[in-house]
C-alpha cells in the first residue's frame, strides 16, 4: 500500500515538476520558433534570458509587484532583440556572430546590473523576492493526479501551453503567418510581391526576444526567487535545440520541451529519494540529452531554407 502511494505521489511530483521545468524552455523555444521561421537565427537566447531574469527580479524587488516585473522583463528582452534585429536585418551582419555577441553582451549587462543594484551582498544575504503563487483552476485541479499536475501551475505555465495552439493557428491559418513562413524559405519571393521583408523580420526577432525575456523572468519570479549570474544555466541553448528537435513546428516543440522537462524533473526526484548515485550525472543529463537530440535529428527536415542567410535585395 505504502509503495503504491509512493509511486502515485512520485508520479505526481514528477509530472508536476515536468510542467514547471519545461515552462521557461517552452516560452523561449516558441519565441525562437517565430524568429527562425522568419529566417533569422538568433543565438542570443541565453543572454536575453539572463537580461529578462535580472530585469524581472530587480523590478519586482523594488516595486514589490511581480506583474510589473514580468512586463519589464519582456520590454528588456524586446529591446535587446531590437539590437539583434538592427544588426542582422538592417546592417545584414553575420547572424551567428551577432547572436554570440548578444549572449556575451546580455550576460555581462545582467551581471553588472545585479552588482550595481545590490552592491553590498555576500553569499549569506542574497536578496530574494516572494515568487508567484501557483494558480489553481477550480474543480479541475481536484482530479487525482492529473489535477495538480495540469491545473495547479503558475500563470506563465498556462500562458506557455496556450501559446502553442495560438502560434500554430497564426503560422498556418493567417495571412501574416504564411508571409512569415515564406520569408524564412525565400525572402526574395516575398520582397518581389512588394511586402516589407525587413519589417516582418524585426517583428519576428522582437517577439522571440520578448519570449526569452519572459522565460528569464519565470526563472527568477516564479522558480527561484533570487538571481545568480548563471541562473539560465544553458537553458537558452537547450531552447534552440528544442526548436531543431521539434522540426520548427509548434506542437512537436511542445512535446520536446515537455520531454526535456520530464527528464530534468526525474533527475530531481531521484536526488530527493536519495539513491546512491553521483548526482553530477543526473545534472548533466539534460545537456547530454540535448546533444543526443541534435544528433538524432541530423537530417534537418523542416528547417527554413533561408535560415541564417541575410537577405540582400541587390545581389551585387
Amino acid at each position: 500500500m505504502l509503495t503504491d502511494l509512493l509511486t502515485l505521489n512520485f508520479l505526481e511530483s514528477l509530472l508536476s515538476g515536468m510542467m514547471r521545468i519545461s515552462t521557461p524552455l517552452l516560452l523561449a523555444a516558441l519565441g525562437e520558433l517565430i524568429t527562425e521561421r522568419g529566417g533569422v537565427l538568433n543565438l542570443g537566447v541565453e543572454g536575453t534570458m539572463l537580461v529578462g531574469a535580472f530585469t524581472g527580479f530587480v523590478v519586482s524587488f523594488y516595486t514589490g509587484n511581480l506583474y510589473v516585473g514580468i512586463c519589464a522583463a519582456m520590454v528588456a528582452g524586446g529591446l535587446l532583440s531590437l539590437l539583434m534585429a538592427f544588426m542582422t536585418c538592417t546592417l545584414k551582419l553575420d547572424q551567428i556572430v551577432s547572436g554570440l555577441a548578444l549572449n556575451i553582451f546580455g550576460g555581462g549587462l545582467a551581471f553588472y546590473g545585479y552588482r550595481v543594484a545590490f552592491q553590498n551582498v555576500g553569499s549569506k544575504n542574497l536578496p530574494t523576492i516572494t515568487t508567484f503563487d501557483q494558480v489553481s483552476i477550480p474543480v479541475l485541479s481536484k482530479i487525482p493526479v492529473i489535477g495538480p499536475v495540469f491545473f495547479d501551475q503558475h500563470l506563465l505555465t498556462y500562458v506557455a501551453i496556450l501559446l502553442v495552439p495560438l502560434l500554430a493557428w497564426f503560422l498556418y491559418k493567417t495571412v501574416p503567418g504564411l508571409t512569415l513562413r515564406c520569408i524564412g524559405e525565400n525572402p526574395r519571393a516575398v520582397d518581389m510581391r512588394g511586402i516589407g521583408v525587413v519589417r516582418y523580420q524585426y517583428g519576428a526577432v522582437m517577439f522571440g526576444g520578448m519570449m526569452s525575456g519572459l522565460a528569464g523572468a519565470y526563472l527568477t519570479e516564479a522558480a527561484a526567487g533570487l538571481f545568480v549570474p548563471d541562473i539560465a544555466a544553458g537553458r537558452g541553448w537547450i531552447a534552440i535545440a528544442i526548436v531543431i528537435f521539434g522540426g520548427w513546428r509548434p506542437i512537436p516543440i511542445l512535446f520536446a520541451a515537455l520531454f526535456f522537462g520530464l527528464l530534468d524533473s526525474f533527475q530531481l526526484q531521484v536526488q530527493g529519494i536519495g539513491i546512491r548515485f553521483p548526482y553530477q550525472i543526473l545534472l548533466a543529463l539534460p545537456y547530454v540529452l540535448t546533444i543526443l537530440a541534435i544528433v538524432l535529428r541530423g537530417t534537418r527536415t523542416g528547417e527554413p531554407i533561408s535560415l541564417g542567410i541575410p537577405y540582400l535585395r541587390e545581389k551585387s
Binding site: V175, P176, L178
Partner: protein, 531 residues
C-alpha cells in the same frame, strides 16, 4: 489595384485619350502608348548599367528588349518593376509619370514581372505562392476563392498545372507558369518576362509564345527580355536593342533580319557558325558504363547511363535543367559515388579515385556555377588559381606553399588567357563574368587534360567571352582532348558538338551524329517524347 479581368482594361481604354497626362514628350498618338521610358540611367558603383535609354511600349504589343549578357536589360526591367530606383530619367505609365520605390508600387499600377531566376517558395504549393501579398483584407487565409480564380486562369490560358502540388515537385516550365500566374492573378497591364526561354525545350518555348500572343491580342502588353535573336524575330512586334548599357535603336520586327539584328546587338559581325575543323575522333577517353545514381530518397537521378567520349571529339549533352546534368557532372568529377555502374578514364576505373586523384589523372571539370562551385571570391586571383593544386608540387613542398611558383603560375595564366587584371593579387570578386570563366579555364586546363567536362560554360557571358570559350574548347578538341559539353543552349550544342546526346529524367534518350538530327527531334527528346 486588383484587376480581375486584364482583358477589359486594354480594350476599354484603347483608342480613347487618357486624362491628366503630363506626358508631353510623346509625339505619336498618346492613347496607344502604355509605357514610355525617357532617358533612364542607372549606375552600380563603377558600372553604368543603363546609360540614357529611351523607348516605349504600345498597348497590346510584344516588345523585345534585346542585348547580350551584361547589356543592361535586366537592370532596366528591375527599374520598371521598382526593385531598383533609376539615377536619372523618367518613366511614364498610362500617360502619367510614375516613381516606383518598391515592387509594391509596380504591382499596384499593374506592372508584373517574371524573373529570370524564379522567386518561388519550394515547400509551399502553387496556390500559396500565388496568394502571397495579395490578400488585403482579413487575418484569416482565404484559399478557396483564390483556388477557384487560379483554376479559371489556368483553364483560360490552357495552362496544365496541379495547383495543389508543392513547387519543388513541379517541372521547370510548370514553375515558370506559376510565376506568370502570379502576375495574371493580380491583374497586370504590362508583363515583363526576363529571359523566359533559357530553361525551356523548343516545344515549351512555342507553347509559351502562343500564350503570350494570346495575351497580347487581349490587350496585355509584354516586354520580353532575351539575348536570343532567333526567338525575338518569331514572337515580337518591335525590338529595342541595348549594348553596354546604351540604346542602339528600336526597330519593327518585320523590317529587320537576324544578321542586322546581331550586328546591332554586338556592334560587329557575329560569326554564327564557328569554324569547326574536320578531325577524326581518336581512342576512348571517358566511358560511362551503366552508371546509376540515387538520391537520399532512393530515387534515380541517373539511370543506367552509357556514354562514350573519344579524343578529338566534343560530345554535347542536351537537356532541360534538372534532368540529371548536375548529378552526371558530380559523378564524373567524383563528388557523388555511384550506386551502380562504372566510369572509366583512359581505360581505368575511377571507382577508388578521389576528386583530387581524378584531376591528377588528366580529368578537368568546368562547373556550372562558376562562383559558387569554382571560385573563392574573397581570395586573390592568385589564390583562386591555386585551388585544387595547393597541396601538390610545384606549388607545395612538404606542406609548405611556394609563393614564387604560385605567383609565376598566376602571371602565366593571366597572359595566356588574356584575363583583364593588373596582377594576381586582385580580389577575385572584382572580375567580370567572362574573366571569371577565364580564371577557371586557366586553372582547369593547365595540366593538359585528356578529358574535359564543361557544364554550361557560357552561361551569363557576353558574346566576346562566349566566342573565347568556344575557341578554347575547339582548340582542346584539336589538340586531342575529349570534351563532354553539357549545355541548355541548343545553338551552342549544334555549333560545337560532333555528336549529340539528350538526357531526360536521368536517362540518355539517344546519341546522334550532330548532322543526323534536327532541333525539333532533340526538343522532343528533351521533353521525354521518343518515337
Amino acid at each position: 489595384m486588383t484587376n480581375p479581368n486584364p482583358r477589359d482594361t486594354g480594350r476599354a481604354e484603347q483608342g480613347s485619350a487618357l486624362s491628366g497626362a503630363p506626358d508631353t514628350g510623346c509625339e505619336k498618338e498618346v492613347s496607344s502608348i502604355l509605357l514610355r521610358v525617357d532617358d533612364l540611367s542607372k549606375r552600380f558603383g563603377a558600372v553604368q548599367a543603363n546609360d540614357h535609354v529611351s523607348f516605349e511600349v504600345r498597348k497590346g504589343e510584344i516588345h523585345c528588349l534585346l542585348g547580350e549578357n551584361g547589356a543592361g536589360k535586366s537592370t532596366m526591367a528591375e527599374c520598371l518593376y521598382g526593385t531598383y530606383q533609376p539615377d536619372g530619367g523618367s518613366i511614364y505609365f498610362k500617360g502619367r509619370q510614375i516613381r516606383l520605390t518598391s515592387p509594391r508600387d509596380a504591382i499596384n499600377l499593374g506592372i508584373g514581372m517574371v524573373h529570370q531566376h524564379f522567386v518561388l517558395v519550394p515547400p509551399m504549393n502553387v496556390i500559396e505562392n500565388i496568394i502571397i501579398g495579395t490578400q488585403k483584407k482579413g487575418l484569416f487565409l482565404r484559399t478557396e476563392e483564390a483556388e477557384k480564380k487560379i483554376q479559371r486562369l489556368c483553364d483560360e490560358y490552357g495552362i496544365d498545372l496541379d495547383i495543389h502540388a508543392p513547387i519543388k515537385e513541379l517541372s521547370v516550365s510548370q514553375q515558370q507558369w506559376t510565376e506568370i500566374l502570379k502576375a495574371l492573378y493580380v491583374g497586370v497591364d504590362l508583363l515583363i518576362l526576363d529571359e523566359p526561354t533559357a530553361v525551356l525545350t523548343p516545344q515549351e518555348i512555342m507553347a509559351l509564345f502562343r500564350t503570350v500572343k494570346k495575351m497580347a491580342e487581349q490587350g496585355l502588353s509584354v516586354i520580353l527580355i532575351t539575348h536570343k535573336f532567333s526567338e525575338v524575330l518569331e514572337v515580337s512586334d518591335r525590338i529595342t536593342v541595348l549594348r553596354k548599357g546604351k540604346l542602339i535603336g528600336t526597330v519593327e520586327t518585320r523590317s529587320i533580319n537576324d544578321r542586322e539584328l546581331a550586328r546591332m546587338m554586338v556592334g560587329r559581325d557575329v560569326i554564327f557558325r564557328v569554324e569547326k575543323e574536320e578531325v577524326k575522333p581518336g581512342e576512348l577517353v571517358l566511358e560511362l558504363d551503366g552508371v546509376t545514381l540515387r538520391n537520399s530518397q532512393k530515387m534515380k537521378k541517373l539511370d543506367n547511363i552509357h556514354l562514350q567520349i573519344r579524343r578529338h571529339e566534343i560530345l554535347g549533352l542536351a537537356g532541360v535543367g534538372g534532368n540529371g546534368q548536375r548529378s552526371l557532372y558530380n559523378a564524373i568529377i567524383g563528388i557523388s559515388p555511384l550506386d551502380e555502374g562504372r566510369i572509366l578514364l583512359c581505360e581505368e576505373d575511377l571507382a577508388k579515385k578521389s576528386v583530387a586523384d581524378r584531376m591528377m589523372a588528366c580529368l578537368a571539370g568546368i562547373p556550372e556555377d562558376r562562383i559558387k562551385q569554382g571560385l573563392l571570391m574573397d581570395f586573390s586571383v592568385k589564390e583562386s588559381l591555386l585551388l585544387g593544386r595547393h597541396n601538390r608540387p610545384p606549388f607545395s613542398r612538404f606542406g609548405w606553399l611556394c609563393k614564387k611558383k604560385i605567383r609565376e603560375f598566376a602571371e602565366r595564366s593571366i597572359a595566356n588567357y588574356e584575363i583583364a587584371v593588373q596582377n594576381g593579387d586582385v580580389r577575385t570578386g572584382t572580375l567580370s563574368g567572362g574573366n571569371l570563366q577565364k580564371v577557371i579555364l586557366a586553372r582547369e586546363l593547365a595540366h593538359d587534360p585528356c578529358c574535359v567536362v564543361a557544364s554550361q560554360p557560357t552561361r551569363g557571358l557576353d558574346v566576346g567571352a562566349i566566342e573565347y570559350v568556344h575557341r578554347r574548347l575547339l582548340d582542346l578538341r584539336r589538340e586531342g582532348a575529349g570534351i563532354l559539353l553539357i549545355s541548355e543552349d541548343l545553338d551552342e550544342l549544334f555549333n560545337l558538338s560532333d555528336r549529340l546526346a539528350v538526357i531526360y529524367k536521368g536517362r540518355i534518350m539517344g546519341v546522334f551524329d550532330v548532322n543526323d538530327v534536327t532541333r525539333e527531334k532533340v526538343g522532343l527528346l528533351m521533353a521525354g517524347i521518343s518515337e
